[in-house]
Amino acid sequence: MSKKRIALVGTPNAGKTALFNALTRSHQRTANYSGVTVESAEADLALPGGEVCSLVDLPGAYSLRPYTEDEGVLTRSLIGQGYDGMILVADATQPERSIRFMLEVLDSTSIPCVIALNMMDLAESRGFRFDLSRLETEGGVPVVSCSALRKTGLKPVLHLLEKAIAGPRREKHVFFPPPEVNETPEQSSRRILEFYKRADSIKKAVLIRSGDPDTRSRKIDRVVLHPVWGLVVLVAILGLTFQLMFNLAQVPMDLIEGAVSGLQEWVNHLEIPILARSFLADGVLAGVGGTLVFLPQILILFSMILLLEDVGFMARAVFILDHLMGKVGLHGRAFLPLLSSYACAVPGIMATRTMEERRDRILTTWIIPLTTCSARLPVYALLISAFIPNIEVLGGLKLQGLVMLGLYAAGLLSALILGAILKKLLFKKGRPPLLIELPSYKRPSFRSLLKGLLYRARLFLVRVGTVILVLSILIWGLLSFPRAGDGSALPIESTYAGRIGKTLEPALSPLGFDWRIGMALVPTFAAREVMVSTLATVYAVEERNEAGESADLGEILRKEWGVATGLSLLVWFIFAPMCLSTLATVRRELQGTKHAVFMTLYLFALAYGASWATFSLVSRWVR
């Protein structure tokens, strides 16, 4: 028998995810919903009687009449999919909204249900008093007050849930007439107003005393949204994030690199055939290790993002930046997707789901590949160390660091310019309206943060263990075959990869790229960072053939390439036609191959043009 499925539903910021984390031990897997593919967390939930169910954390919504794609997921899955039970999370500090949503949900489904009136501790401290038994009578379902953060009232929730799902389906209450299939706006608005009257009368009956307004959040907002201080806070937070990402991450990254090269060393001394050794060391370990090294950076960026979301700052950032983003055609909500994209474009593109208008999603998704994802970092680091002299300019500033900063700025600038152009060309209509809630500030929950991070880490590790592993092996195969008659390695230009490089050379020579670079560019479609390990392999193989020992890769590159080639390749990576997993995500999220194809083409064109210009200019200038 399959596990019973329990839905967790509620309004945004009602503490749904906090409750999810408090009730379950871990995120077990992500569920994919038909229709639009949107992932929700799903985990095992043990009921007091011992039965194990599956708890599904559905996206929050203000109403079942969907407005964003996110909300569409909720409505479709609640009405369409077979859930055996449901926990309806209501925010006790927002009784009006909570009761409205509750009534709407109870109206629309017959799924057995328990209402968890969350944040009761906060509500009581602000003076709210509820008549819970009245709420139970009105709704026809059990109500439990609880606090997900303090973990109070959780046991009764599970007890009542167990009882509810053992019983029959609920009878639908009809609080207000259900929406017509093709309702006109007038009908909708009449229906909403009618419904409000009902909800309001129920609220008045249930709410014995209304609480004081949240003055603390107002006070904080006076600073955070202040014309001057607000900007200071925002810049400080962004600065801190990037500082942590690049400095704090260094130690664990070195550790991971050390561990991987230690393993490679160990493999190289195993008593197994040389081809097997090479497969393990150069194929599996080099490929997987090269990507795994980004885990610390991704975790640091996401812990900042999760923390800021948890506290309630993200919505404020949207509020502050909306006007500026609008100048380049972007929605204020594009801030979070763009920030995430500095770790990786894939979660960035997925974060565009929260935008109401498809137009905004498309525009944001289109420019996301221009933000400097962390996979470009090792390539930048290698090329900068090889081609930018380690000198100080302008009184003590390191030129190498400045160039790195410049590359980030170039990516951002081109993203903004592209946004402005796309806005002019494709989206002449005015901006779609904005509605975003600025939730009360909350103390972050460490446990919740940790869970979110573990979830991210798992997604990343799964990718490393599947896509990246397979591609690394494939690339290794291209670099290692065919072999000579006696089984020994052929010169690199005779391998499949070498032949691909040779084939590409005529097209790439205007950019200053020879066949070796062409060859190294091929696997960058799998993952950009593989460029470094491919170059390492290519030159290590060559060097070994000639001299029998390998030197520092940066030094080799400086010897082999001209400055013009090095800079041209750096510029190429600003635009670098993105990795396959980004393309796959674009295709899935925007539901169209068209977008993925266009994006590849425009990025290629940009990269080719900019590299060509760089190479031509620099080779004329530096003789």
Partner: protein, 88 residues
Amino acid sequence: MILNKEESLPLSCLQPGESGRILGFDVEASREPFFLRLLEVGFLPGERIEVLNLSPFGRDPISVQVMEGVYAIRLHEAERIRVVRERS
């Protein structure tokens, strides 16, 4: 508290710290999905609305308190919400 029925003005005219009562939306606006969504979150005729902050850039969007929630909306939409100023 004096409610002056004559004094209907767009929400965008209220300054931070000022509050009013919602009269309704402009006629064409009330047909748009966005304004239905506003109704759903509580921008109902008769509700109290208070302007809290203006965004640092361009003084747009603005944040308003309606019922128990604080929401950010743009001036473009705020212009289409009719309110009466409330003096305390």
